[in-house]
Symmetry: none
Subunit: 190 residues, 4 copies
DNA sequence: CATGAATGAGTCTTCATTCAT
DNA sequence: TATGAATGAAGACTCATTCAT
């Protein structure tokens, strides 16, 4: 998809949106505030995105893609499932801890009624490969006999729980990370 | 003298809010829609609640109190910690499954920026007794050496994960419930 | 006009209205605020006055009548026109200085669009006798050949001017009062 | 770039406000009525003025500035104090007579609770030079030994009184103007 | 393309008045 | 009569989106 427009401005708008969405919520953030924070004219937002919802969906895709990329990077494809899970666990926590605003925004996006089905599907896309990697591990009996989505949910759930703890006591982040993974592993291994 | 404030109308307003909030989100639900759905005049909402935020906070308190009450009911105070946790697990899932709109609303409430500190504190209040019950179990070494909040988070997270599964495949609800608890228990027991 | 209702409550309402009107203005004062300040129920205001405008007009009449009475009291009917004017001058200033809230309210009433013609006429009524007294003095050549209304206006205007000064420097009230009358007298005498 | 803020629209809004404020009062004039009368969209009022109060204060400043300018224009700076006062007198009456709506609006503005201190101060600013001119005349003994504010008040008072007369009998305007000035002069000269 | 003024539907909240108790 | 809850029509202001410049 050719993008004849300035990538810089597009990014500035998305970054501004992350800032404001994470802080005030999506509905409570006027498009004008986003434009202003991005240093562009009010109207320009609409040359980069069809509408506010357009921006919202684009932002969702962007964040999901970034997260997927972070998770895949350095994935020990040959390692044991435990190693793989631990990699994902650490990466995931690292991203969330390092980009709390993006995380918060992602949560808000998920709960908003603004994501269309296409976006949800497209957002899951980059995780496909990852899922496959995990599925094989389930099949070989190392893990409990869980459906992939359930595993996903549990993983996600433990991440969220651990994140909350890290947020409330950042000094003990490493300890939470280790303990959290142990719990996860105990939960899902056969 | 004069007409007394009607508990019925107050409830109707809160119920209508649950309906609409769960469906459309808080910000996207006009107060007029709530009044209408509750069958009262637009202005009446404001005789029962100071403002939209007033209603939102009241609703939060209401839901938290209801949940706490459901969880406490029939809690096997003499039983083992496993029994206690299982009771909480089943009750929690039951409430969420039985009142999906309330659950959704609670999630939205939590992510909204409308809850004031007082409400958050007051909302946690009814869980105090429950927390104590669990704390003792942690102390006697049955469980991992987790801080109470962490345990809370993990419990909550696993509930959420399991709920998602139940939502996507209600027929297997019982199976998810059992498997979920096993995972939780494996995760938190020493 | 028989008034079967409690005069006390009626007065309380009018007094409360004076307080609030003088402070916030007429339009900016809700009837509920008046009732509350008067210590009666919201609805009671409407058993004592047909409507908010009804109260407003009644208040106007009340204040005009009170002012007229104050001015007439002790009027030296046999004295020279100068004596008479001075009496009115002093009385008028005294009333305004002593009841600044009533004065302010009267000003606001006059500028509001809520006084009906009947009230305006009725409010002028108590001054009729006073006017006659003055008219005779004009006729005998002591004063400039002014129409009575003009004299009225000038008198009123000078009162207002002097009042402002007294308000801004109460310590010198007596001095302003004397000087003001001198100016008035110089202006209107032949 | 883009459409520049149009002075025409701003003026149209202020003019419409004068019309409606003078007729109905400030509180009783909805912003929507002003926009409509000015021929712009409801929302546009708020691109020209922060709020209704913003418009109100701007209007006050505008009127005060206009009045000051009218009074200064052609002021006989070398003439006697009597000449100066007469010039101000005539100009003042002329402006008030010629712009009765502006006058009425100014009165309402003054009695409203919407003018902030900044505006009141700023509104007095353009009269500073004029005040100085008069002060010197007081100092040289031509006038009574009045404080400047008092002189101001008396002048204003006589204007108001005379204006009322002119309003009630426009045919005799010139006669009122002359007679009024004589009275003023008699009042304030030594 | 960039800009930001223009638009007007939509939102929360207030308030005079009525009326059930 | 006293009370104050109920009513719903305004009213000030916001905001996504358009479009003149």
């Amino acid at each position: 998809m050719a993008r004849p427009l300035s990538d810089e401005k597009r990014s500035a708008l998305l970054d501004a949106a992350i800032d404001l969405f994470s802080e005030n919520g999506i509905d409570a953030t006027p498009t004008a505030a986003i434009s202003k924070a991005a240093g562009v004219a009010e109207g320009s937002l609409f040359t980069y995105f069809r509408s506010k919802d357009g921006l919202v969906n684009a932002l969702y895709l962007e964040l999901k893609a970034e997260l997927a990329q972070v998770l895949m990077q350095g994935l020990p494809r040959q390692g044991s499932i435990a190693k793989k899970l631990e990699h994902l666990w650490n990466r995931h926590l690292a991203w969330c801890t390092g980009s709390p605003k993006k995380l918060r925004t992602l949560e808000r996006l998920l709960l908003s009624n603004r994501l269309d089905d296409t976006s949800r599907a497209q957002g899951a896309e980059p995780f496909r490969e990852l899922d496959d990697a995990v599925q094989r591990a389930v099949d070989d009996g190392t893990l409990r006999d869980l459906s992939l989505p359930y595993l996903h949910q549990v993983f996600q759930a433990m991440v969220t729980a651990t994140l909350q703890m890290i947020a409330s006591d950042p000094a003990r982040a490493a300890s939470y990370r280790r303990e959290g993974f142990e719990m996860l592993w105990n939960a899902v291994r056969r």
